[in-house]
Amino acid sequence: MNYPVWEAPMLGGGLIIGIIAILHVFVSHFAVGGGLFLPVTERKAYRENNPMLLEYVRSHSKFFVLVVLVFGAVSGVGIWWSIGLVNPEATATLIHVFVWGWAIEWVFFFVEIAAAFIYYYGWDRLDAKTHLLVGWIYFGAAWASLFVINGILTFMLTPGRWLETQSFAAAFFNPGMLPSCLVRTAVSVALAGVYALVTAAAVRDVGLRTEVIQYAAKWLLVGTVVIPLGGLWYISTLPAMAREISMGAAPAVTIFAGLSIFFSALVVLFTYFGPYRNPRYFNLTFAFVIAVMALSTTGVTEWVREAVRKPYIIYDYMYANTLRTDDLNRVRQQGILKSALWVRVHEVDPKAPEKAGEEVFRVQCASCHTLNGYNSIRFAVKGWSRAMIDYQLLHLNELKGFMPPFVGTEEERRALGAWLASLSPLPSNLEIAPSEKAETRPVTSEGAPKP
């Protein structure tokens, strides 16, 4: 309402955030888990006096730097960039609540990056003990940065007591924070294994390759065992509606939730019977298959986590279209076209309501729906009569739990209905159905509803 709406054709802003975020999650959790993998494995090499294993850790650290420091760091900034463009109001709110949290995370990020460079460039310059210590500093900073960001992220779905107290502590230590942190830590360990399998498969020496492949598979398996335990705990903290959405109420979300379990199971099975039991037959292609399955798991899981937050962007506080729950009554009275700042049409023209209707769509629906692409609105209302559309708009939040209520005047709702109906013209849409007239109050030519 407060900001101009950027409509990204076909994709929609939500999907742009999603694409960046999923790739980032897949790399940033490796940044944490891989940060543990490096010093642990380096120490193992020293203890076993195994120079070949040490050489492997060293080459893995080069791969690590190229993936984590560049893609991981920049894509993380990219999420921030994209949420600011797609949902400035929510981003601004999060920054107001959490700026010191972010500032703390920034300190850890700074230490993390510095430590990664010194670890990577320090193989020949630092003695073993110091080098290992720098590795531990890297891991500590990386995990701490996960810890902070995780608190901000879970706040959006489970803001808990912040809604009453508005305090930082209530916001950060929200109900979902600890279980989600456990899940993400476990995911990090598992992903350390996934990436290590890729570099392990490229090791030339057969003996070392077998050893490292099995070792990496163990990381993956250990991480994956903890994920469902943390996951169940996490699910127990979710709002009731979020659980319902993922367990049947919204088929697409339920299917994705199922896929998340399915892909995880595939990863475990492939890893157990592949690299863990039969490391000799493991190769780079196999490693990429596991990586792709792990990326798929990440993708669908993060998608579900985002989807169950609907209809909110900050639960019980701000809807996905940036309307605050507190503002509903005011906007209902004023009308959406008078409340939104960035509209080109301020009033409904009774002769051609579609124009205003499209504007209402833009400010109230376009944060989730595109016209023809992702979550297409044309497809959603295909074949619906005007009466059906109006009935849906009247009861949007009751009929579809994952959608916010329509907010605006009756005139605006009808204008939106007229525009939606114009998207897929049906013979029955050419005139307003009688049942619809009977159901709603008449409107005067000035646009104000008659008492």
Binding site: P4, F71, G84, A92, T93, A103, I118, F168, R324
Partner: protein, 359 residues
């Protein structure tokens, strides 16, 4: 027509505006140093990559200076996060609006930075394989980072013109509206780019001290070469700075030409320090460095005052409600000190001469 400006969010600021503005300017100064080294550095390394085809010194310089670039990129990005965070907190309603209007360009920054970053690594890790093409890789990287500078400069200028937002919005095309390139906007961009070339030159002079150990002859040449860039860049910067000052709207410009004592004193001090830096360059690199860091810091404050002067008609951050989160702020301050100490220790063990033998 009354400008359309989004309302600030109804959540109170977590600290008084003056503290947030201080952190905004302070962390921006921290970002400016590696950012300047990066932007000027990629240009200098590009030039030397081409000259190095027939000149051993330039070849050596491109190799060594190019090798220093990856951490510089990392710190330019990392240290850039904080000022942008505080900018969004205090001036979000202007920044988000201008960003949304140019959304595709603004989002492209992420992709460009990633490409530029990989370009720097590619240049370093595969210099031999790339052969003569290495120069083109670095040139492309330089162009990419200059594009990032261009987009940043446009957005930071656009957010100061809220009176134009709504008209631009009405013309349509939300997401691709860059706004007109004014002479002030162009001067601002040039001011930053030329400063980067000068600062990178100084950075090379400083870096050359590390090269004294293994290549004293080359280090002496690199020292002189870096200073030439520094002196030429700083000289040009005086001209560009005058152009930038004159291109500002009268009421903003006036703040630095007498109307405001503080603004005028800051500008005079910044210019004097730049002159000191320029004169001292060949005599004492330490004095020159301290003086130019002083200039940059004062210029960052002046830049903030320019922003305040542009926006004061519409918004005063001090009018916003405040509910201080002092405990978390204290935690941040403690962690910041601990973080800086940790990084300083790591740099110390990395650069201390003894460690070279110990490894």
């Amino acid at each position: 027509m009354t400008p359309v400006i989004p309302a600030p969010v109804p959540v109170p600021l977590p600290a008084p505006a003056w503290l947030l503005e201080f952190l905004l300017v302070f962390t921006f100064i921290l970002h400016l140093l590696p950012m300047n080294f990066l932007l000027g550095g990629v240009v200098m390394v590009s030039v030397s990559s081409f000259l190095g085809r027939n000149d051993a010194k330039h070849r050596e310089f491109a190799r060594r200076a190019g090798g220093a670039l990856p951490p510089v990129v990392a710190f330019a990005i990392t240290l850039g996060v904080a000022p942008l965070l505080f900018l969004q907190l205090v001036y979000g309603q202007f920044f988000y609006t201008s960003s949304v209007l140019m959304a595709w360009f603004w989002l492209a920054v992420v992709l460009l930075v990633m490409l530029g970053y990989y370009g720097v690594y590619w240049y370093n890790m595969q210099q031999e394989e790339l052969g003569r093409r290495a120069a083109w890789v670095m040139l492309t990287t330089a162009v990419i980072f200059l594009l990032v500078a261009f987009i940043f400069s446009r957005n930071m200028t656009a957010m100061l013109r809220p009176q134009d937002f709504y008209n631009e919005f009405l013309r349509g095309g939300v997401g691709v509206i860059l706004g007109p390139l004014t002479s002030s906007g162009l001067a601002r961009l040039l001011h930053f780019v030329v400063a980067s070339l000068a600062m990178a030159g100084l950075g090379v002079a400083l870096l050359s001290r590390l090269w004294r150990r293994d290549a004293p002859g080359f280090a002496a040449w690199a020292h002189r070469y870096g200073l030439r860039w520094f002196q030429a860049g700083t000289g040009v910067e005086f001209l560009v700075g005058i152009w930038f000052l004159l291109s500002l709207p009268a009421e903003v410009r006036g703040q630095f030409l007498g109307a405001s004592t503080l603004g005028t004193l800051l500008l005079v001090a910044a210019v004097l320090l730049a002159i000191v830096a320029l004169v001292a360059a060949r005599l004492s690199l330490a004095v020159s460095t301290i003086a130019i860091v002083g200039t940059i810091s004062l210029m960052a404050v002046i830049r903030h005052l320019v922003r305040v002067a542009y926006l004061q008609r519409y918004f005063d951050p001090r009018s916003l409600p405040v509910h201080g989160q002092w405990v978390v702020f204290a935690l941040f301050a403690i962690l910041l000190v601990a973080g800086i100490a940790t990084v300083a220790w790591m740099l110390y063990v990395f650069f201390r001469p003894a460690s070279a033998q110990a490894g």
